[in-house]
């Protein structure tokens, strides 16, 4: 595969125009960290955005940052941290999941984060990448430069194409400049860990806290073996609820007391302070407890369905995993050859939602549907939307191609 490294808008546009004229497929990547997500792309050329870098503008008072697509996530996060700000959607750093790929820990790009629509544990309270992309410029599969959105928080001028770009895995257009909304970083963060008999009991507690005025910023349910992997001592119990509270200190301490009252003092709960909390949630967001597994899935389902879905799958095959998003994000690692079928059938009968194969060898990704199969009418509509941006299918062809649900 011929590698191309555009570093100016003009060179990027020329490369796409040439591919369009020749009708040759292009693989699109940042630094390749997320190469293991989605179906393998068969293309003659690869546009790598690794040199397409630079923070164009950062205005802390306006809560806005503009960066070119290949800018490293780490660089963005470090700059924001210097002004006590952050990306509230807590994008995971997935390099640890794909160690075998040629990814360097510092290389995940902001374009990759948006292209894959990544979000961490704060998804449940603060939203996802989609909620923070204010606007962008991009080169479409028609080799045309276009823009959408702006740099202000409140904007309904024209279609919100930022939403479409987020999670489109470079199949609609190649992003040039990305404008993000950023937020003040919380002053302190505490974790409250409640050991419970099983994951059902833990999810009930998390649900109860999210239905209270406590304003938790994360709710995770782990079985005992994951608790151990995270060095959390939950004694003889089978699972734990982990709740994160963030904000100004006086408020965080007050809300921890509220949690204690909610638990009616019948349930024990222990705390982790700032540093430990940061490390714990970083590990959870990045799927670290499962990172050694060869096959990893992420399933989005209604929060209350999480434990029963997890149990239904584990009743049929050997898996490990945990629940994030108050139960609504099920992480599963397994080995079984038919794990794919088990997940899709159990998901359909336990609340519904969508399952994505986050990590697997190239062979498996080639032969099963990596993304949730779609009903035929929705599938046809999606195909027409893709054609509206990339009529010749030159951008990352097949990378996300969803199957049609039977």
């Amino acid at each position: 595969m011929k590698l191309l490294y555009p570093d100016t808008l003009e060179s990027l546009q020329n490369m796409v125009a040439e591919a369009l004229a020749e009708e040759t497929a292009l693989k699109i990547e940042g630094c390749g960290t997320l190469d293991g997500v989605g179906r393998p792309v068969n293309a003659q050329k690869c546009i790598s955005m690794k040199n397409y870098t630079g923070i164009i503008d950062y205005d802390p008072a306006e809560l806005v940052l503009v960066a070119r697509a290949g800018t490293r996530l780490r660089e963005v996060e470090e700059l924001l941290a210097s002004e006590n700000q952050l990306l509230a959607f807590e994008p995971p750093h997935f390099n640890s999941l794909y160690e075998d790929a040629n990814a360097q820990p510092t290389n995940q790009t902001i374009g990759g984060v948006i292209g894959a629509g990544l979000a961490g544990s704060r998804r449940i309270s603060a939203g996802s990448a989609r909620d923070y992309l204010l606007g962008f410029t991009a080169i479409s599969g028609r080799a045309e430069l276009f823009k959408s959105g702006s740099r202000v928080m409140k904007n309904v001028t024209g279609y919100d194409l930022s939403k479409l770009m987020t999670g489109s895995f470079g199949t609609l257009a190649i992003m040039d400049e990305i404008t993000l909304k950023v937020l003040p970083a919380p002053e302190v963060a505490y974790s409250c860990i409640v050991p419970t008999s099983d994951m059902f009991a833990a999810q009930k507690i998390v649900g109860q806290i999210f239905a209270s005025p406590v304003e938790a910023s994360g709710g995770v349910i782990v079985p005992v073996e994951i608790a151990k992997a995270l060095s959390l001592d939950i004694g003889e119990q089978g699972a734990a609820a982990i709740i994160r509270i963030e904000g100004i200190e006086i408020s965080v301490l007050d809300r921890i007391n509220q949690i204690r009252e909610l638990l009616c003092k019948t349930q024990e709960c222990f705390l982790l302070e700032n540093q430990e909390t940061t490390e714990l949630w970083r590990a959870l967001c990045n799927g670290k407890p499962l990172s050694k597994s060869d096959q990893i899935w992420q399933i989005s389902t209604p929060p209350a369905s999480g434990p029963s879905l997890f149990k239904a799958i584990s009743d049929r095959t050997d898996i490990s995993g945990f629940l994030d998003w108050a139960g609504g994000l099920v992480w599963i690692a397994g080995k079984s050859e038919n794990l794919h079928d088990i997940i899709r059938t159990e998901l359909a009968s336990h609340g519904g939602g969508h399952a994505t194969l986050l990590k697997a060898d190239i062979n498996l990704r080639q032969h099963i549907s990596v993304f949730q199969p779609l009903p035929s009418a929705l599938h046809a509509l999606e195909m027409r939307v893709r054609d509206a941006f990339d009529p010749r299918h030159i951008l990352n062809p097949n990378r996300t191609l969803p199957a049609i649900a039977s």
């Binding site: 125009a17 823009k147 202000v152 999670g167 408020s251 969508h354 509509l381």
Partner: protein
Amino acid sequence: MGVPSPDSEILSRRDDIIAGLKSMLPDECVLDSLTSMRAYDADGLSSYRQTPLAVVLPTNVAQIASVMRWCKHNEVKIVPRGAGTSLSGGATPLADGILLSLAKFNKILDIDYENRCVVTQPGVTNLGITHAVEDAGFYYAPDPSSQIACSIGGNIAENSGGVHCLKYGLTTNNVLGVEIVTMEGEVIRIGGRHLDSGSLDLLGVLTGSEGLLGVVTEVTVRILRKPSTQRAMLVGFESALDAGKAVSDVISAGIIPAGMEMMDNPAIRAAEDFVNVGYPREAAALLIVELDGPSVEVDALLESVERIMRKAGANSVRLSQSEQERIDFWSGRKAAFPAVGRISPDYLCMDGTIPRKALPEMLVKMSSLSQQYGLRVANVFHAGDGNLHPLILFDANIEGDLERAEAFGADILRHCVALGGVLTGEHGVGIEKRDLMGEMFNETDLKQQQRLKCAFDPQHLLNPGKVFPQLHRCAELGRLHVHHGTLPHPDLPRF
């Protein structure tokens, strides 16, 4: 402004079209007399009135699907309508189109406290959702000023905001799923009680698409637990510029209030005369800052906010001491539009957004434009997120006044774009701002947006004449012009 001129061929088929509609719907669901259609001839942009070809009020999804399929087959246009409160003419009827009202889709289908969401029909009002869940301590966060009347389906179409979206986001950040009927009559479900789509985010692009892509027939929204404490602060300033700067200072200090609103002197006076809640009538500008959360947090942050306000030059600060007082503080702001309606025979409500820091500059520009056009203007802002609502006062009985007011409004919006802002923050483009789209987007941008439209509705039958200044045929938009190895548009402007 205005809508495309009607197709006389369609008008000549009116009787057949009405007969066609009546073959699919019960008689009482089709209105075709002038008197029965009068209530539907305009939305909130009431200077533009047009009697539609017919009005249909279906009662179930199958009826909507057959009407859409039939209209596609017979090439008849459709304008969807929720509660008709759009301020940009999103539901302005077409003389040669059918108005499809969702008014009978007025039931909440399920309240799911375990997953903290509500499944509802689109005709339920925004406030109706909160009313249904408030006994259990929950609410639906986006709160447009028209929330007592506007429908949740209309909120999806316009991506409505409100005073609390500074902290809680707009409609798009609070919707989990929709069911839509496409122009082909297909019923498609996107999202649900879970988060995100796992494929292209069509839910995100449908939200705010102004009824041009599909008709929403069911909505799932997330609900939030009410914060334990809400307190508001009224802050008066002698200088509007100082007030504008104070808004920026609060955000810079890392504080994101639940809402941060600003009113200028004409708006303060009009509101105070209307509701009498003790707004400082002499102040040049008034800020209402609301904080919510645990009481210790609210008290601590209010202290910081007060310090920032005083430093920025505030000369009066009042803190709500009771829930009633908090509601009173808001009552003037929430009644600002009708209050201004009392001091002027007519007013135009504009809606643009600018970067927060440009607020002082915008205020200066606005007063010079006001002098230039000889029209008064009263300002209410969602200052925290830079969203402006200038109310331009005029008298429609004076010849040329409406046109002058519209030109004044267009100048304000142009200046919003020049300052790095946008044409509309929450009211939508509709017909009102359609012809200004070129101020913000170039031809390539607009064509790309229209190609998306073509993926949903290649014949431009659904709500045509809204949003886009010029309609291109989809076949023409789909054409590619490529020469070997050369750019399709070598002269493309860079921005």
